[in-house]
Symmetry: C2
Subunit: 307 residues, 2 copies
């Protein structure tokens, strides 16, 4: 068998930990890194792929023209979930296998959500700001113990978040159109959105899609003093209703890691009752390594090699 060439276009691949690279090399392939150290343009991608059999892919354009320039290409492995940069139909037509790493973000997003829930409830961020300003302000916060947490969307990330928060003593309520009570574990309760919002102390969004889930009608029925966590999508919450709910005390606080438009520069910036992070859900060393390793294994598998 002649040499198998694998291109790695994601410039940060194996930079903090070379294990994913070792997995590829250990399987006998020759690895060629993206020579530009940044996202490839269409022309660069076409040139880069001319002699490659496999690709560890980032978000560079992998359209019909680029794929047509890669006569030997058999497999594309995305490091991440999104595949909107890939012409899936054309890849399929050409017999190229395409994979992604759907499990990669689960743990990291769930972890950050649990941390944000505690930080928000216990007032860690505001207390830290006060103390750095020389003000010793002790306020009694709200812990997770005994609180009702409503998970809106109960796929991988929602479930993992509940798993991490359960030892703290939360009661788990779930809204998910594709689930039935029998799909849930003991102690978890399936509710409608309205039922859930009326009793939840904490609402954590884990839904996909672009439609608004929390608008004026929803904030109207929410339990007063609730906390809102959004690690999913900015579009799920109507911003004007959110601001009103914060002003009215319906929401005591919120954490947003995902926004209508990123980088975000809207009215939430001016509010002390909202913790804001710049879409950091997947930004952990562990998450990066996990996705890089999965992509290496997916690629080798799709090339008919064992990891």
């Amino acid at each position: 068998m002649s040499e198998i060439l694998v291109g790695v276009s994601t410039s940060s691949y194996a930079q903090t930990n070379r294990e994913p690279l070792d997995v590829l090399i250990g399987a006998g392939v020759k690895v060629v890194k993206n020579p530009f150290g940044r996202r490839l343009t269409e022309d660069e991608a076409a040139t880069f792929l001319a002699d490659k059999h496999g690709l560890i892919a980032g978000l560079e354009p992998l359209n019909q023209r680029v794929i047509s320039s890669a006569p030997h290409l058999k497999a594309i492995a995305r490091v991440g979930i999104g595949m909107s940069n890939i012409d899936m139909k054309f890849a399929d037509k050409r017999g190229i296998r395409v994979s992604n790493t759907p499990d990669g973000p689960t743990n990291a997003v769930a972890e950050l959500t649990a941390g944000a829930a505690i930080a928000l409830g216990r007032g860690l961020v505001s207390a830290n700001s006060h103390l750095h300003a020389g003000e010793w302000v002790k306020a009694i916060g709200s812990g997770l113990d005994g609180r009702s947490v409503l998970f809106v969307g109960y796929g991988r990330i929602g479930r993992r978040t509940a798993e991490l928060m359960s030892p703290f003593g939360i009661r788990v309520f779930v809204v998910d159109p594709v689930l039935e009570q029998g799909d849930l574990a003991a102690g978890e309760t399936l509710v409608t959105l309205d039922e859930g919002l009326k009793q939840a102390d904490v609402v954590s969004l884990h839904a996909s899609g672009e439609e608004v889930i929390l608008g004026p009608e929803q904030f109207d029925i929410m339990k007063r003093g609730a906390l809102l966590l959004n690690s999913a999508r900015g579009e799920l919450v109507d911003e004007n209703s959110l601001l009103q709910a914060l002003d009215d005390g319906v929401l005591k606080g919120a954490w947003f890691d995902a926004f209508w438009r990123e980088p975000y520069a809207g009215p939430l910036l001016g509010r002390n009752d909202v913790i804001l992070t710049p879409h950091l859900g997947t930004y952990s060393e562990q998450c990066r390594l996990s996705m890089e390793l999965s992509a290496a294994k997916n690629l080798l598998n799709d090339l008919g090699l064992s990891a």
Copy 2:
């Protein structure tokens, strides 16, 4: 039997939740609240206790003179752990039973510690500051998954913290002079302080006492880039060595909730790599309720009544 009078001197008692008061009243005692709504002085305490059989106690002075003014007093129940305000020897001589609520803070301190570990590792506080200032700064953080966490002191709070952090995937290392490996659960490793510091990614202090545990020699051997969590006592860490360790990159960051002197106003205030909270460990609604309920039950038990 004549009426049993119970004084409540802690002014915040049952303010957010009246359940503790209901427990006392339900047992048939007459409850009299501190009329001043603040900590009682010695004179006020002496007057307040003149006709009481039991006391739900705060931090007012309960010295020999005050106790001598309370001929009917049979039981004192502290809401909290510290009992340095009570002349225990004299109370014992007078046959007065004294209790505290040692389990009360466990959950709340452990929860805040776990939240601070995530916030610190994932850069939540600094990212929030940047974003509120209009800067969209995405930095890759360090999650808990796979990290070695050294618990220095493994009593109630240390153990509970480990329990809460374990589902996140940590490896538990323990330093505790009164424990043997056989006292630990499967997967937990007893180490010496030096062994632990050499390999820990996160060091969490849960020791009692006033002696310095982390000084120059200890920071010298710590794994580079570690995080330090201190919810226990400020005195456990030598401040100059701490500042040096942060400057040298031995420590990547730290969280302090306990300080050498409180309110704290020292050099940590000026550092962005340190999260500071004003001794909020026990400041949660749940913790307050739990301690108040325990004190009510302790008092009734010591008065020979059932809760």
